[in-house]
Symmetry: C2
Subunit: 452 residues, 2 copies
Amino acid sequence: MVTSELSNHHHHHHNTINSPMGKPNSRSKTSSIFLSDGCLFLGGAFSTLILIWGFSSFTTFPKDTLNLEHLSQTDAASPRAPDLTFDPPDKTFFDDPQMGYTLDKKVRNWDEKRAEWLKLHPSFSDGAKERVLMITGSQPEPCRNPIGDHLLLRFFKNKVDYCRLHGYDILYNNLLLDPKMFAYWAKYPVLRAAMMAHPEAEWIWWVDSDALFTDMEFKLPLERYKGHNLVVHGWPHLIHEKRSWTGLNAGVFLIRNCQWSLDLMDSWASMGPQTPNYEKWGKTLRSTFKDKFFPESDDQTGLAYLIAIEKEKWADRIYLENEYYFQGYWKEIVGTFQNISERYKEMEEGVRRLRRRHAEKVSESYGEIREEYLKDAGIGQGNWRRPFITHFTGCQPCSGKYNAMYSADDCWNGMHKALNFADNQVLRNYGFLRPDLLLNSVSPVPFDYPHP
Amino acid sequence: MVTSELSNHHHHHHNTINSPMGKPNSRSKTSSIFLSDGCLFLGGAFSTLILIWGFSSFTTFPKDTLNLEHLSQTDAASPRAPDLTFDPPDKTFFDDPQMGYTLDKKVRNWDEKRAEWLKLHPSFSDGAKERVLMITGSQPEPCRNPIGDHLLLRFFKNKVDYCRLHGYDILYNNLLLDPKMFAYWAKYPVLRAAMMAHPEAEWIWWVDSDALFTDMEFKLPLERYKGHNLVVHGWPHLIHEKRSWTGLNAGVFLIRNCQWSLDLMDSWASMGPQTPNYEKWGKTLRSTFKDKFFPESDDQTGLAYLIAIEKEKWADRIYLENEYYFQGYWKEIVGTFQNISERYKEMEEGVRRLRRRHAEKVSESYGEIREEYLKDAGIGQGNWRRPFITHFTGCQPCSGKYNAMYSADDCWNGMHKALNFADNQVLRNYGFLRPDLLLNSVSPVPFDYPHP
């Protein structure tokens, strides 16, 4: 069982929790958030530890240096569609008895094995370099928070919408594939299995259940990451100089399906609770990153450690993204939706092409056109570009707990606002809009809206 | 608001409801299921009315006449992948100010308009005839049943899994696009908008929130439906001779994105609550289909009416499917999972090709291979082919209510079993299996499992 597993491992834990949402629950009296929070095991480090993003997501962002126009991919080639009905009898890594889907089964020469598989499946080798599989998930059990599963459903719908618009596959995991790897560690067995099961995917994109897409048009600038194997939101100086465990956020990351990533995950997961060194790693991480205030080894600090201490081995291939909201702190974002909506409306009033109705499936082309008019939007705090991903760090939709510095309304209303802000971008393609971001009623959109 | 809308329209209603699941709720004291059920508006007629499927799904199935091997599509052509970044400036129906996404905006010459759009988007015209968009959804508000949204999340995950395996797009709608079209009528404004927004899709597949795929490999036999525009589970003699409103089930249907379907939906929706004729239609439908026991006009009986009474106009293009579980009644199915699992395991023990591990994306090819070994499986009650879609008719996951002839355990355990039975087929591609269909713990699958 997940909860007993969690309770065995986390007896002593500080309690920074506000009163839980919803009905009183006998289990919520315990002093351990791990014990009382059923929603932990797949959440990101931030949401599960009920911390907040201590730094503005864009503290170090040099304004006006980023031209996002060049980030979007404009590959005009038209590759073949994958043929789902073709698997030739030729032997591949799948036929190797030594190959397994679990982290303990070492894989060697994965890049060659994947390449061989792709060669045998030519319809998949077309466009393989840009192929992304998104993975998200939550705990196996229903949420404690009465509106928790409803929020998870909406967060999932948001990701499915994003994936439909961009032609990505998406996988929702709600199982503990390795019962010893609970909480934020649970994603690694899933990633490992998914890499084997999806040799056609170049990138695996982990997105926490409490993160959502608030710019449905924006496309990952994969070209930018071609020399890297892991992309995560972070700031080099906070990791290398300040030695802060919040120098990156491990709740959203893009990892290349390659041997390097398998090796990294081996090192990364070797700090996890399934190993005899778990406690030792907790101490090491805490003594390296002084602002880490809880004793357990966690994946986010673990990654910061690999970047800072095993720098030679890993850092070159890890892209610390901080020039757009690869993921952003919701507190900094939610208040800007109103202004952003108005600015986008103004933009569309001035540009007929952006008002043009179109099939949902060609929305990416309108995202490209829009970039021309976003040059002056800036990015990050105080600016008016739609944030790409908004992450509800410190709010726990499933458990219903949240950081004491917020109110329940901050968290749940913030989520509804963000979900509806995003959903309006989807609805528009179906001819509707929600006039009020906190309500569920919609209006049909007139032709040529918002013509002045 | 949805609930007030519902309450205005449904004051008098018989109550066949057992005590609701979960905690006592003041609102559940009302005598109207429409009033007290927040989960109605997108459910199918069966689940929302808490009825049961009065006939065995396969009452009239002639055994041994169906060879499903020939149903699966084996189109070996490799069409181009859709180009999401290309929308030429040429005018299409989207640029016509008269075109709207709502049911009241009449569309003419839709087939020509779609064809023109496809011509201008050649990467989408490849494979257009087989392109399917699945649509499902639920109410905007959280469920009353404490595990309702958790179940909806799992039902949605199941559909996303199925769509990923078969390369289909999926849309989840949780809004009332036309507030007057509540309950089971709510799907029609969504279908109408989706047809406009997805000219690339030949078929729209509506699947109720309480229906799930229990054969992840089985592929819609579209070839079979090439002369038809609407596919629904049903039996001609029950509609034409017995005049039973349960002669078909409108909770799952496949509708072609064409002018005929728009015309049909105009006629169909003209019986809905947004029209002045709603009450009149209730009387007409009830006097035509004597076993319909509630006074309101509903979409399922409405369709039966169009088939039986406006036969000349519609029936030729409506395929009443009853040779496999296009959708099946859960009570008839859930008890068979154990035997089916054992028979499939036996089958795989004997066939190395079926034990072969493979990339998830080429699962369809293994589905085709399996057909050879399913010839003797039969289909429907008493046989051992995996049922394609299991529909929890009479159980309401969201409201927590269910037909008085079931127990809560019947419904919720049945759903968990069905969801896990399906999920095991997905998990297998990631190297795992749930040994117990009622538990969430998993085991890694050994190489060559289940080698004898």
